[in-house]
Amino acid sequence: MRLRNPGDGREFTVELLSHQNNSAKVRIDGRELHAGVDPLPDGGAMLSVGAGRMRTYAIRRGDSILIAIGPYQFELIMLEGRAARAVHQFAAPEVVAPMPGKVLEVLVKEGDQVEAGQPLLVMEAMKMETTLAAEGRAIVGKVRVAAGQMVGHGDVLIELTPAASPSPSESAPPDP
């Protein structure tokens, strides 16, 4: 499977070669690794990789897999099947909520031309204000939210069409 670490955008190909007798063989980008997998009664497992032995928990949520390795946390995005939609969203010229919260103010309307760095929308999460700005010159498409609305992490807030580019699909912005 293809997995993406949204923290730094890196992608990995990971294959499970075998898993039996509390031992797993895995290939990560062509490199084979052995791991001890000792189940715990609470649904987790002691995962042994190299010299490390770590209490591990994991769960699937939507297109992501959440993993806790001791106190360390990871969210890996699956880039197959249902994940294709999410990938498209990342590449699409849209303004996406970087965090869950409330929309305080929408500063643009459909049809507006905006410049790089121009504030588009103000949102608040946990009493902190964040202003979302345009990454490049663009025309505002559909505005999907209104002031006062609660939004979730990753919700599309405003659709944009890059103004300088003939085709929006060729000008995917860098991953956030």
Partner: protein
């Protein structure tokens, strides 16, 4: 105990602090009443109290900030006292006033004292009058006055809300070009968060430490100090690690700060628990503000002084004399675990507690409202867990904290536990290179370690192997479970119990 009418306490708060107050109230023999919003139905604090009253919808403005609804809940439940906790209404004089008017005891300072100190400008004037040094600052009525102050003091400057607290409504302005936009945003944020859009400026000190003094006063005019807390490690001007004593603070400076704090609290006529905050640069200190309430980091003081500050607040509210603190012992450190992504600029996170592993052991205290299944929404402050460690020396407490945070695991809500572990484990922290710029200087771009990511990739492929199909959920495959067992909420990792 002859307690003037104090039999039942309503806690006007939620989360870990509501639970913590309920515990002390029980210890004092009081009945407890919790209030909760729609979003908190079934929450730990509502379950822990003797009674729980719904006070409104999820939005805090309509529930935990709803003075009428809270007083109505107190009256209908027969509560004779209200503890406000921290945040929400804890520093709103109109709340303290309304509580008193309803014939209910407010556990905290009087509305008048709170109003005088909550107005940061008035508090500074009071400090200046009695000779307590303050940070150079000025009241501003608009952008013109702001420009002229900035002209005199030079950039960067700090914009603060007159009614602010907890870093909210506070902004650093680096240069002239940002000034107008920052003034506007700060005023709007202050208006939204505190209902008061007034702001003021102060000179931004380059390398300050943030040190505060815990005070406790009674209505008989007695005031005591319970040492200091170092709170320099902050992100977004909000504390995330606190400790006591402040490492390396010269005894003479400490004594002068404690003396200044007592003098200020006395001049204000302070009663109950309060904190006098200072910025420290070298051997100089400047009065910042008074937090007229119990603070998030109060357990640090409790571990060092072997006391219960909430129980003490309740005794004082009942008319008793403040207890003379015993001599402090050793050192204590608190780490605040927030629902935030430390690897991505501390963006707030939401989710649901799918699995929780809390640390324990000698010298380790954990204050939290989290349980398996607890939802974490964007409606409230993202504080999840406070881990407090104590030891004979700072190094003992520090090592205990590293181990405690290593035991911590929380699946389902991105949180700052691992980041805190790495910070406390660092040589910069061990050597106490503490200024409010600590994280900026030493942890500008933290990421989890590479070998952790490798293990996560292995775990992910094991999860996605298919063994996590709905058929393997405990509720489907283990009919022996209670229908509403909390274990049903753990949908997770039984791949590894596969035969």
């Amino acid at each position: 105990m002859a307690w003037r009418g104090l039999k039942k306490l309503l806690i006007a708060n939620r989360g870990e602090i509501a639970l913590r107050i309920i515990r002390s109230a029980r210890l004092m023999g009081l009945k407890t009443v919790a209030v909760y919003s729609d979003a908190d139905a079934g929450s730990a604090h509502a379950a822990a109290a003797d009674e729980a009253r719904l006070i409104g919808p999820a939005e805090a403005a309509l529930s935990y900030l709803n003075i009428e609804a809270i007083i109505a809940a107190a009256k209908s439940s027969g509560a004779d006292a209200i503890h406000p906790g921290y945040g929400f209404l804890s520093e709103r004089p109109e709340f303290a006033r309304a509580v008193k008017k309803a014939g209910i005891i407010f556990v905290g300072p009087s509305a008048e004292v709170m109003a005088a100190l909550g107005d940061k400008l008035a508090a500074r004037r009071l400090a200046a009058q009695i000779g307590v040094p303050t940070v150079p600052g000025s009241e501003i009525a608009g952008a013109d006055a702001a420009r002229s102050f900035a002209g005199q003091a030079g950039f960067p400057i700090l914009i603060k809300a007159v009614a602010g607290g907890g870093g909210r409504g506070m902004r650093v302005v680096a240069d002239q070009s940002q000034l107008d936009a920052a003034l506007e945003a700060a005023a709007r944020e202050a208006k939204a968060a505190f209902g008061d859009g007034r702001i003021f400026l102060e000179k931004y000190l380059a390398r300050p430490r943030h040190v505060e003094v815990q005070v406790m006063g009674d209505e008989h005019g007695k005031l005591v100090a319970l040492g200091e807390r170092e709170c320099s490690i902050q992100r977004r001007h909000q504390k995330i690690i606190e400790e006591s004593p402040a490492p390396g603070l010269p005894d003479a400076t400490r004594e002068r700060m404690i003396e200044a704090a007592i003098r200020l609290a006395r001049a204000a006529g302070y009663r109950s628990a309060g904190t006098v905050e200072f910025l420290v640069e070298g051997n100089d200190f400047y009065f910042l503000e008074v937090n007229a309430r119990l603070q998030v980091e109060h357990p640090v003081t409790e571990l060092r002084f072997g006391c219960d500050l909430v129980a003490e607040q309740l005794r004082i509210a009942a008319g008793e004399h403040v207890t003379e603190p015993r001599a402090p012992r050793g050192a204590a450190i608190e780490c605040r675990i927030y629902a935030e992504d430390a690897a991505r600029d501390f963006w707030p996170a939401t989710g649901r507690v799918e699995h929780l592993n809390l640390p324990a052991g000698p010298g380790v205290r954990v204050d939290t409202h989290l349980r398996p299944g607890t939802p974490i929404s964007a409606y409230y402050d993202g504080l999840l867990v406070k881990v407090i460690s104590a030891g004979e020396t700072r190094e003992d407490a520090r090592r205990r904290m590293v181990l405690a945070l290593g035991e911590f695991a929380l699946l389902g809500v991105t949180n700052t536990a691992a980041f805190l572990r790495d910070v406390v484990d660092s040589s910069a922290f061990a050597e106490a290179k503490l200024t409010t710029g600590f994280l900026h200087n030493f942890f500008p771009s933290w990421q989890p370690p590479e070998h952790g990511l490798e293990a996560a990739l292995i775990a992910a492929v094991l999860v996605a192997d298919g063994a996590f199909s709905p058929a393997s959920r405990p509720s489907d495959s283990q009919p022996a479970h209670d229908a509403r067992s909390p274990w049903d909420d753990l949908k997770g990792f039984n791949l590894w119990s596969r035969r």
